[in-house]
């Protein structure tokens, strides 16, 4: 996978299926942030000897700009074990570090700040850990909403367990760049693009569950918003049976009154959903700009 997500998103999850693919994508993101003058904080894993010189950032896989930024201090690296010590394993601890880095950089005169972290290799063994993980990621969202902050979370699939992968997609559903497909929250709709197939179906299912959960949560905050999730499929070129099945399963588990509204679906998706006995909670509609047709 090569990733340059186009215009910068505030909080993006980059999914890769190998270390190499992850580095290629991250290198592109880093180069762009550094070129635009951001102060960049990088959290990652050093080897057993703890030497930054051995990390890919200091080698030829990174751009010249990146290596120079390490020397000048525009790019700061922190080893994960040290971060864990500082954070103390809590969401609050991580928020404190994030805020200190952000405000410190802005006070130094940097006009924007970027943060990225490698796959954390957290097993997420129970619901409590998943909840802490979600809180920690939520901290990035809060800061990005108020300050000039861009965040790239790296998810390298082979180093994480299945729970971590699915939950990570759910937490980050508002900004995902995966292998062959992307997802972005556009405020009034959840916009998907690319090919959705069996290879990424479980990850897509995680993101879809997260998007439905968020729509429910916003509606329950008393904002008067509908709990329906409007999915813009204009940019999706292919959907297979596995993904159609994921949609059906997700729709069957939503609370009463919530709908999964699929706008401008690919031609064959309607046939697939009908073959899978489409539940009433799935509504097929026209383009998002014609909301009334849903």
């Amino acid at each position: 996978m090569t990733v340059d997500a186009g215009s910068a998103r505030a909080h993006l999850l980059q999914v890769a299926e190998s270390d190499h693919a992850q580095r290629v994508g991250t290198a592109a993101w880093l180069d762009r942030e550094l070129a635009f003058g951001a102060k960049v904080f990088y959290k990652g894993w050093l080897g057993d000897d703890g030497r930054l010189e051995k990390h890919w950032l200091a080698g030829p896989q990174a751009s010249v700009r990146t290596r120079r930024a390490l020397e000048t201090g525009q790019l700061e690296f922190m080893d994960f074990p040290r971060l864990v010590d500082l954070v103390g394993g809590t969401a609050e601890g991580l928020h404190r570090i994030q805020a200190a880095e952000l405000h410190g950089a802005l006070e130094e005169g940097w006009t924007s700040v970027a943060m990225t972290q490698e796959s954390s290799r957290r097993p997420l063994v129970d619901d409590d850990e998943v909840a802490v993980f979600a809180q920690q990621e939520g901290g990035y969202d809060e800061l990005a909403a108020r300050f000039p902050l861009h965040v790239l979370c790296q998810l390298t699939v082979p180093v994480e367990n299945a729970v971590h992968v699915v939950e990570s997609l759910g937490v980050h559903h508002r900004g995902v760049v995966d292998v062959g497909w992307v997802a972005h929250d556009e405020g009034d709709s959840w916009r998907l693009a690319g090919d959705l197939d069996a290879h990424i179906a479980q990850r897509f299912g995680g993101a879809l569950t997260g998007a439905l959960r968020r729509a429910t949560a916003i509606a329950e905050e008393g904002t008067g918003a509908s709990p329906d999730l409007h999915v813009d499929l204009t940019g999706v070129g292919f959907v297979d049976v596995a993904v159609a099945q994921v949609m059906v399963l997700a729709a069957r588990s939503v609370p009463g009154g919530q709908h999964l509204v699929l706008h401008d679906p690919p031609r064959l998706l309607r046939r697939l959903l009908d073959a899978l006995e489409r539940p009433d909670a799935i509504v097929l509609g026209g383009p998002v700009t014609e909301r009334g047709s849903a």
């Binding site: 069996a198 990424i200 297979d240 049976v241």
Partner: protein, 293 residues
């Protein structure tokens, strides 16, 4: 290249007249008779007489010539070609329509491949090109030589080109990430074949689903979807005058379900004109066919 050590030698014999055919076949016939093999000659009256005149006392089998429908030749083989070693000389397919002839000759090549048998098919001088195309060997005064124009069945599939169309692409699909390439390659061929719109989309989706089915990806309703398991899976795309066929071969890790339990084949059938699944010791083959006319 010689015929030593091979099984079937299926050769075209192009002769000016019956005597010319006898001259070409005689060395092989005599060698077979000396080795105790059987020789069967299925020609018209003039053809059989030419052999009898040259070999008046030989134990030739000379069944009465009959009309043979080329496409049913495979069924006739058991009755006509009783010789499991030796020589069979005949003229059964030469005057059939192209498709029927190619199918019959390809079937012969395939079905008798392991027999130590020489099958010589007599063609007229004006049929040299099609004789060379449909036979792996051509009989010359120096004996059988490989036919330069013969296209053998695809190395990855034993199905003759005349049955499902010639193979136009072979795509390795080592894992789920390669499914996108499978779709892109198949879509290009589907569009070249003249399909467009929803029918083209459905053909591509059918090929994609066929590969998942061939590899045993778990797509049972109500369960989380399974990715395509890693392996040496292969898509072979065949194209005939009237259809595009995706032939997907994989090795499912789980045993095949009883036909009544698996609804995926019937789902596949809704996406194409014809779908088949074949399980054997070498794995599973799923074929989906979409007509282009």
């Amino acid at each position: 290249m010689t015929t030593a050590g091979v099984g079937l030698v299926h050769a075209a014999v192009v002769g000016e007249d019956p005597e010319d055919v006898v001259r070409l076949c005689l060395p092989t016939v005599e060698a077979a008779l000396e080795a105790g093999g059987e020789v069967e000659i299925v020609l018209d009256r003039r053809g059989t007489r030419a052999f009898r005149e040259v070999l008046p006392d030989a134990a030739l089998r000379l069944p009465a010539p009959t009309d043979v429908v080329p496409t049913t030749l495979a069924h006739r083989l058991g009755a006509t070609m009783r010789a499991t070693r030796g020589v069979v000389i005949g003229r059964s397919c030469a005057d059939a329509p192209d498709d029927d002839r190619d199918l019959a000759e390809a079937a012969l090549t395939l079905l008798l491949a392991d027999h130590p048998l020489s099958v010589f098919c007599v063609y007229a001088p004006g049929q040299v090109d099609l004789a060379r195309r449909s036979h792996p060997w051509v009989l010359t005064p120096d004996g059988p030589v490989p036919s330069p124009d013969h296209r053998p069945p695809n190395a990855s599939s034993p199905v003759p080109a005349a049955v499902l169309g010639a193979s136009v692409a072979t795509v390795p699909v080592p894992d789920g990430a390669a499914l996108a390439d499978l779709r892109a390659r198949f879509a290009a061929i589907v569009h070249e074949a003249g399909l467009a719109g929803e029918r083209a989309d459905a053909a591509v989706l059918a090929a994609h689903e066929a590969m998942l089915l061939a590899c045993g990806a778990d797509l049972s309703p109500g369960h989380p979807p399974g990715d395509l398991p890693p392996g040496a899976h292969l898509l072979d795309v065949r194209r005939s005058a009237g259809a595009v066929i995706a032939e997907c071969r994989g090795r499912p890790t789980a045993p095949p379900r009883a036909s009544g339990q698996d609804t995926r084949l019937s789902q596949l059938a809704h996406l194409c004109d014809h779908a088949t699944v074949h399980d054997d010791a070498d794995g599973r083959t799923v074929r989906v066919l979409t007509g282009t006319r």
